[in-house]
């Protein structure tokens, strides 16, 4: 109980919550860089995924190129980015990015699951459904927006959620470049052998990841068509193909670190 008791006391100490080094400020920074990176990655990955899934060309090549982001160790990429951009803390309009080297790393790990799942979701649309839509006189754009994208959406969300969890966990690296985030508790704690603080920081990261997961699941629930939800009409054919709850991601969660 000793160690866990210390952790509980750590959270009970008001001085750990306020100020520049406090939980509130670090949590805000962590959420900031995570959200910015997830949104940026989605803005890059989803249009490309929808497009290559729609035209059904160049999918394998694109997915493999994006997977470079997963193959590169995040820490190595971070140091490389620091060598190129320095500490890279933008001021003015772009200050919302926080730490540019970390931002690049986070976008690089978030793109592959988002892109791959979007592509797989699009390719998985039943050819008969596409034919029917074409037969109704739909244009390519109408087919994409009205038929393919909504059907692919549960898998797209699975990709976003997988990417988001990786981003929240990996954003701890921002502390290594002198920036903030919850990683400060972990990195500073490790370098002063303050393992209570390390554990507290890790716990906060884990809790934040869970919050993101639930938040995104909520967004998914709001955006996915009722007819595509498993619980709405179990037994249907389409529903079997694309279950909403805990869909098996086409790309397994990336080990972080």
């Amino acid at each position: 109980m000793g160690f866990l008791g210390d952790v509980v006391n750590w959270f009970g100490d008001g001085s750990h919550w306020s100020g520049n080094d406090g939980v509130i400020h670090r949590l805000t920074e962590h959420v900031q860089i995570s959200v910015v990176s997830i949104v940026a990655a989605a803005l890059i990955a989803l249009p490309i995924g929808f497009l290559i899934g729609h035209v059904r060309k160049g999918g394998i090549a694109t997915v493999n190129i994006s997977n470079i982001g997963r193959a590169l160790p995040s820490f190595a990429l971070l140091i490389l980015m620091v060598q190129i951009f320095g500490l890279g803390e933008p001021s003015g309009v772009f200050s919302f990015i926080g730490s540019f080297p970390t931002f690049v790393v986070l976008v690089a790990i978030a793109i592959p699951p988002m892109l791959t799942n979007t592509y797989i979701g699009m390719v998985g649309v039943d050819p008969e459904v596409r034919e029917a839509a074409r037969g109704m006189g739909m244009s390519g754009r109408q087919l994409l927006r009205g038929v393919e994208a909504p059907i692919a959406l549960p898998l797209v969300w699975a990709g976003i959620r997988t990417g988001a969890i990786a981003v929240v966990a990996t954003a701890t690296l921002a502390a290594y470049t002198g920036w903030g985030g919850l990683g400060r508790f972990i990195i500073d704690g490790l370098s002063t052998q303050d393992y209570v603080q390390v554990f507290a920081g890790a716990l906060l990261v884990a809790l934040l990841a869970i919050v993101f997961e639930f938040g995104l699941a909520g967004l998914q629930h709001l955006t996915v068509s009722r007819g595509l939800r498993v619980r709405a009409r179990p037994g249907g054919r389409v529903e079997d193909a694309v279950p909403e709850v805990a869909p098996t991601p086409a790309v397994p969660a990336r080990p972080t670190g």
């Binding site: 320095g86 500490l87 002198g178």
Partner: protein, 306 residues
């Protein structure tokens, strides 16, 4: 710049190359006398588990081999606690360590003055059957660096000069710096009272800190004088009030193995080990993953010691 701790393939390859060289060179060597000084007996050299300490072990060992001693090595043994005990037990006959570290390990106070710390070391070693050589000039300690531009802009030469202008400057160093007495912690505050505009927590004497100093993200950076890559443009501020310990390399020798000749050979080598030379050797092993014995050989040849 990224530390990858996979040494064995390189080592194995190096060993194979050395082996091949020996096979090829054996006929040529057999006629030549292996040393200048004749056979002076055999010695076992130990070393600590730090890149710099391993190079030092090889530097002193190869110089002694050249001087006519039959050398064998027990390298990478551990920290001072382990290696000092091995020396006392007679598992090894001598090994290089760092003066202030040994003094503190033996319960002394240590300090910044080389002469004082040496005499403290000598008195602490009395009755233990161990003697220490004259310290080498090198030190691997916390160094506060600025760029030449910053130095000339604020007329900075010493750490004391920094006290007044610190509030205008950003500092970058290890995350633990403010908790460490010799970095920005209490002892440092008592001597220099450095209150920077901002303290950036970066890496521990590594590439992030170096880059931040080069780019001007920080104006003052804490790096290690003997084991960090020091940017060309950087100036070390003189520790004029003696914050950093006199952690100069010394060789600790079992008294029963020590001779004036041995001592003279070691001191001749020590005199050449400056901080810049020590850093060059440490980085060759630590960052470029070169073999300590090759690095030591190059150093000894360049300084005409073998």
């Amino acid at each position: 710049m990224i530390k990858v701790r996979v040494r064995f393939p390189g080592r194995a390859l190096g060993a194979m190359l050395i082996g091949l060289t020996l096979v090829l060179a054996a006929p040529a060597l057999s006629g030549a006398s292996p040393s200048q000084g004749g056979n002076k007996g055999s010695l076992t050299m130990g070393s600590k588990n730090l890149p710099g300490a391993q190079v030092l072990g090889q530097v002193y060992g190869q110089a002694l081999a050249k001087g006519g001693y039959q050398m064998s090595y027990k390298e990478n043994l551990g920290t001072t606690e382990v290696v000092f005990a091995a020396l006392q037990n007679g598992d090894i006959d001598l090994y290089p360590d760092y003066m202030n570290t040994v003094v503190q390990f033996l319960g002394g106070t240590g300090g910044a003055d080389v002469t004082q710390v040496k005499s403290e070391l000598d008195s602490l070693l009395q009755g233990k059957g161990i003697v220490a050589t004259t310290p080498a000039p090198a030190v691997d300690v916390n160094g506060f660096y600025v760029t030449k531009k910053t130095a000339s802009k604020y007329k900075l030469k010493t750490m004391s000069d920094l006290t007044k202008v610190a509030p205008k400057l950003r500092f970058g160093g290890p995350p633990e710096c403010q908790d460490r007495p010799l970095c920005l912690g209490d002892t440092s505050q008592q001597l220099y009272a450095l209150q920077f505009k901002e303290v950036k927590k970066l890496d521990t004497g590594g590439p992030v800190t170096v880059k931040a100093l080069e780019d001007g993200n920080v104006q003052v950076a804490e790096l290690f004088t003997g084991s960090s890559v020091i940017p060309k443009d950087a100036v070390l501020l003189k520790d004029d009030k003696g914050l950093q310990g006199a952690d100069n390399p010394v060789v600790l020798i079992r008294e029963d193995k020590n001779t004036p000749q041995l001592d003279a050979t070691l001191n001749k080598v020590s005199a050449k080990i400056t901080t810049a030379q020590y850093r060059k050797m440490t980085l060759a092993v630590q960052n470029q993953k070169q073999d300590p014995s090759d690095v030591a050989k190059t150093f000894l040849k360049n300084n005409k010691l073998i």
